[in-house]
């Protein structure tokens, strides 16, 4: 990858965060693409989304101490920047509007999930 790359380079298929593991960082995609997948109780892995430059993931770990709810892995070579929880929360204290961008994405995700749930219900009725 080129010299001006920020973050860390992950190989195709390499896990960046793993479902069920603890973690306290958020990540922002800088280049390439990552895939979000989730294993259901019966162990079947389901594709949830692809994320690209500017998209972030793992943000729930910043706000709650739960295990990761999904696995995110590189889909092709991807470059991802890690955001420290402590530094982020310290900055949000000085500038609460910094959280707005996170809230926006989280609200998009809720909207998307709601739509998925209704679609799921309709197909199973």
């Amino acid at each position: 990858m080129v010299r001006g790359a920020l973050g860390k380079v992950y190989k195709d298929g390499e896990d960046i965060i793993q479902q069920g593991k603890t973690g306290d960082s958020m990540y922002v995609v800088q280049g390439g693409r990552v895939e979000v997948v989730q294993k259901s109780e019966d162990g079947v892995e389901q594709h949830l989304a692809f994320l690209e430059a500017g998209d972030f993931f793992g943000e729930m770990a910043v706000f709650e101490k739960e295990v990761r709810s999904a696995t995110v892995r590189a889909a092709g070579k991807a470059r991802v920047l890690k955001i420290d929880k402590k530094a982020l929360l310290t900055r949000i204290r000085e500038d609460p509007l910094l959280a707005v961008n996170l809230l926006k994405t989280m609200s998009h995700r809720i909207r998307y999930l709601n739509a998925e749930i209704s679609r799921h219900k309709e197909t199973h009725l």
């Binding site: 001006g4 958020m26 910094l98 961008n101």
Partner: protein, 469 residues
Amino acid sequence: MKLSPPTSVADSFSSIVEDDDLDFNLRDGSRVAVVGGGPAGSFFSYFLLKMANAIDLDIEVDIFEPRAFQYCGPAGCNHCGGIVSESLVQILATEGIVLPERVVQRGVESYVVHMDVGDVSIESPVHEQRIAALYRGNGPREGGDAPLESFDGYLQGMATDSGANVVRKLITDVESRGGLPYLKFADGQAESYDLVAVAAGVNSNFINMLDDLTSEFEPPKTTRGYICEFKSTEKEIHRILGKSVHVFLLDIPRFEFAAIIPKGQFATVVMVGDDLDQELVHAFLNDPVVRRTFPTDTTPCVCSCSPLINLGARKRPYADRVVMIGDSGITRLYKDGIGAAFRTGKAAATTAVFHGVSKKDFEKHYWPTCRNIVNDNRVGKVMFATNAIMKNSRLTRRAMLGMASKEQAKDGAKPHMSSLLWNMFTGSAPYVEMFRGTLHPGFIYNLLLSVSGSLWPKSNKKQIKRKVA
């Protein structure tokens, strides 16, 4: 039943004053001028328009900037070392701002500290490239063929994409008429604005022209820095400097601090100090420690400058309808000036959109951000003074090197000295946080151990041998 207290004359008067304050709110059609389109001006404009848009406020923003950032050399450059700190890279990413690869000339992974007593490489705590080395303009004077893009140009693009107009004009004066600020141009024309954000840095005469708007502002204290760009091939620069910024703690008279930063086919040498001149620059470049790291005989200097550095503003950076941001107002001492431009630019924009543009509004909502920086700088002064003392003694230089080397070599060792040096050089953490780290019993214990180890390095070993025997 209790009666509510009668309204006093003072109360009625204060309600009039409060109502009057409404005139200091931005409304649909309000006009905002930004003098200077460097990082502070662009961040301010970007956030002002983004926030105004979020609450359906329709305002007009004019950025006055005579410099064209697509030019190579001084014409397109706001002279600086070009390091975007780890904390700012993370904040920008959280804001959804990804610095493109063509803007970042080198992702930095480690800092190498060079001293006469040895070198130590301090790795990024997370082992990833979270610091950006870049050019503010389109690279050095002879950078025509290099695949670069200006950082300031990129930020200006973000502001214009949000709706700001860039006017390629120099503001030659400013005055107050009927309570409104008027900006004057070279052709003698003048225009009024509802708010003027002064983002002209410290390298411009503009900040000495604000007397008519506020008698309370004094331009910041400054000192000179020195920057020189050396040209070679990308391969050679990578071979010599790698992915590291190289910093020097040397005992040369009057020398304070210098760094060499790799940027593709160029390397930027930055020197900072109160007493910089050509003689000191030569002494530094010819010092044996520097020569063994960066031999300049084969790499010609293709661009150099001596810009001013803001050393602290003396008074509050605002008045009715005027706010100073970035270097024109308050910035961090010696480090992360671009980060401070971001913080002050965004805080001023938030105040203007959500609270108003009066002196009172800026005092209540903008000043706290500035005050945090000012208070932190006080601690920073103590840290730099301590660093100067430690750097000037061979004993403490050895102790610092010994402690940091041990921490870097041992997996899982608490990085007391490494964190301090990392934060001190990268400017990523507040000075208060660094200072707290130095009060940690582990830091003090290990430093004392390292100092005593440096005092008797050989006799110590002999003693141990004798004991074993």
